[in-house]
């Protein structure tokens, strides 16, 4: 009998039954979809961003549709880490799949503090450090630009958090590879990319920015070519595994990221179009591997990269 092709992996020690992850901020705490969707279709769910203090987020409107994409300016609305530990944490076990926390701070110290609080929290199997949110003024993106800052920030988290540390990057960095290498050398276990691109829409009828926050983060299929390129470049720059994302809606999209060098892929915006996207891509991937005579999807990781391109 022919063996079923395998999708399971260990990503820096996180045991996942497939390389498909729900992207942070697009899947709430998982519960929102849990009544309807079999969450075991996900290799892991990355929770929405958490900060030390509660944040009310940006004023509406927070969403704008753009060609094959959308802008969001949620601004990290969340009830804060205390509420999270008290109210959310105890229920996370019900989700039935690995859960990763996503943290954001306004200073290196805040990131450190958040990571220290989450260290040893059994329900959380890794932290993803968001240093690339385009929607918050004094946090987010500015941290992700400068390799020296990234190094300091990741080191600080690394010292207090014993589980896997994922660093989430944007494209705003002038030199993406340098930022990735800085994170790697500071002890990051995994890099995830890309976060949304900063964009805006002008309401021409009212002659003012459409979003309450003026600018927002562009996600969805529109950014996919840019995201695939970022993963491809990063795969040539660092040795740690990558989580690729940005506009994945179909199996072909997911394969592009994997072939470009991603070990896992995350899906955000596409959940809004097709809430069964994880199931559909997972089924498709199995069939694809079967048809192509591959035993494990990992044979595809980076397979589009020439040896020359790799360092």
């Amino acid at each position: 009998m022919k063996a079923e092709p395998q999708l399971a992996l260990e990503l820096a020690g996180i045991k996942m039954n497939s390389p498909l992850m729900a992207a942070s901020g697009c899947y709430g705490y998982g519960f929102e979809y849990a009544g309807w969707i079999d969450l075991r279709d996900w290799g892991a769910i990355v929770l929405q961003g958490t900060t030390l203090e509660p944040r009310q987020g940006n004023p509406p409107p927070r969403l704008a549709e753009t060609p094959s994409g959308m802008l969001n300016a949620v601004g990290l609305q969340n009830p804060g880490i205390d509420y999270f530990l008290r109210e959310v944490r105890p229920r996370l076990g019900e989700l039935g799949c690995p859960v990763i926390a996503n943290i954001a701070g306004e200073s290196v110290e805040q990131y450190r503090e958040l990571a220290a609080i989450l260290d040893g929290v059994g329900e959380i199997c890794a932290v993803e450090i968001n240093i690339s949110c385009p929607n918050v003024r004094c946090g987010g993106i500015s941290f992700g630009r400068d390799p020296a800052v990234v190094e300091r920030l990741v080191s600080a988290v690394r010292r207090v958090y014993r589980g896997p540390v994922i660093v989430k990057l944007s494209l705003e960095a002038g030199d993406l590879a340098a930022v990735g290498r800085a994170a790697e050398s500071a002890g990051a276990d995994v890099l995830s990319l890309i976060n949304t691109l900063k964009g805006m829409v002008i309401d021409t009828a009212c002659r003012r920015p459409f979003l309450g926050n003026v600018t927002g983060g562009l996600s969805g299929p529109a950014i996919r070519p840019v995201a695939v390129r970022a993963v491809w470049e990063m795969a040539g720059a660092v040795a740690i595994p990558l989580i690729g994302m940005g506009g994945i809606t179909t199996l072909d999209d997911a394969l592009q990221f994997i072939l470009a060098g991603a070990t896992a892929v995350a899906i955000g915006t596409a959940n809004f179009l097709n809430p069964h996207v994880a199931r559909d891509i997972k089924t498709g991937l199995r069939r694809y591997l079967d048809r192509e005579g591959l035993h494990h999807y990992s044979e595809l990781i980076g397979a589009a990269g020439s040896a020359l391109h790799r360092r």
Partner: protein, 267 residues
């Protein structure tokens, strides 16, 4: 966690009829959605490719559990709804739902007053029809731009709804804002009564104001642009009063129907 509920439904479109210019009524075979409550909505996929990207929220306008059918009534407001207006009988329509929380206390004895502005009619029609079916008392006030842009009487009669109409141009019913009808009503009818409203923001603000003065309970159905529709993305929020703080609540999850007194309308 109960996963017996399906979220996504591919529904056969039985009819797409332009009720009045720019308003389309979709009749759908959707047995899984017929037990939705008035005020709940669906997220409708408008295109097959990625532009337009997002689903569009549309209230359930009517449900016929016996026939396994629901109706949606929508106004062509932009490119998404323009695409939907071209859907043809026989097409499959992709819906998520039923979503959100509907109007409360629709089965209570106290009189219900429905105040609809324009296409705000869509969810209130369902609510009123439900009360009518079990012979509970209600009033239905409806305002619109012009008489020819509102459905004809027959549209309501079959469901036991006799709307009192006003139009901006006075071409049908009286002229003036629909809130005037409510104001007049509240002068002679005192609480306990329960107001349910749907329509443009300023109208809702007016309704809430009147309700407050009259001491009546008031619920409003809010609109906002949505992405997920299920509470996961925090994109659809509206500002609310919470003590002396502003708090953003999700229209798709905590709403779309909210206690009107807590809503912070733009002023």
């Amino acid at each position: 966690m109960d996963r017996d509920n399906k979220l996504e439904h591919r529904c056969l479109l039985l009819e797409n009829r332009e009720v009045v210019p720019g308003w389309h009524l979709l009749e759908l075979q959707a047995p899984d959605l017929v037990h939705a409550s008035p005020g709940q909505f669906v997220q409708l996929r408008v295109g097959r490719l990625t532009d337009p990207l997002l689903r569009r929220p549309v209230s359930i306008h009517y449900a016929e559990p016996e026939k396994g059918r629901i109706r949606l009534l929508f106004r062509v407001a932009g490119r998404g709804t323009a695409l939907v207006s071209g859907f043809k009988a026989g097409d499959n329509v992709d819906l998520l739902g039923p979503l959100g929380r509907g109007f409360p206390c629709l089965d209570e004895e106290e009189p219900a007053i429905f105040v609809a502005g324009g296409i705000g009619l869509a969810p209130l029609f369902f609510a009123a029809a439900q009360r009518s079916r079990v012979s509970l008392p209600f009033e239905f006030f409806l305002g619109g731009k012009s008489g020819s842009l509102l459905p004809p009487e027959g549209y309501f009669q079959a469901h036991g709804i006799k709307p009192r109409l006003v139009t901006d141009d006075g071409s049908r019913g009286g002229s003036g804002p629909v809130t005037a009808l409510l104001e007049e009503y509240l002068e002679t009818n005192k609480a306990p009564l329960r107001i349910h409203a749907c329509g443009p923001g300023p109208m809702l603000a007016g309704v809430v104001e009147l309700a407050r003065s009259a001491g009546a309970a008031v619920h409003v159905s809010l609109e906002s642009r949505m992405a997920c529709g299920v509470g996961a993305c925090l994109g659809c929020v509206y500002p609310f009063r919470s003590g002396d703080q502003v708090e953003y609540r999700r229209v798709c999850r905590e709403g779309p129907v909210f206690n009107g007194e807590e809503v912070l309308f733009e002023s």
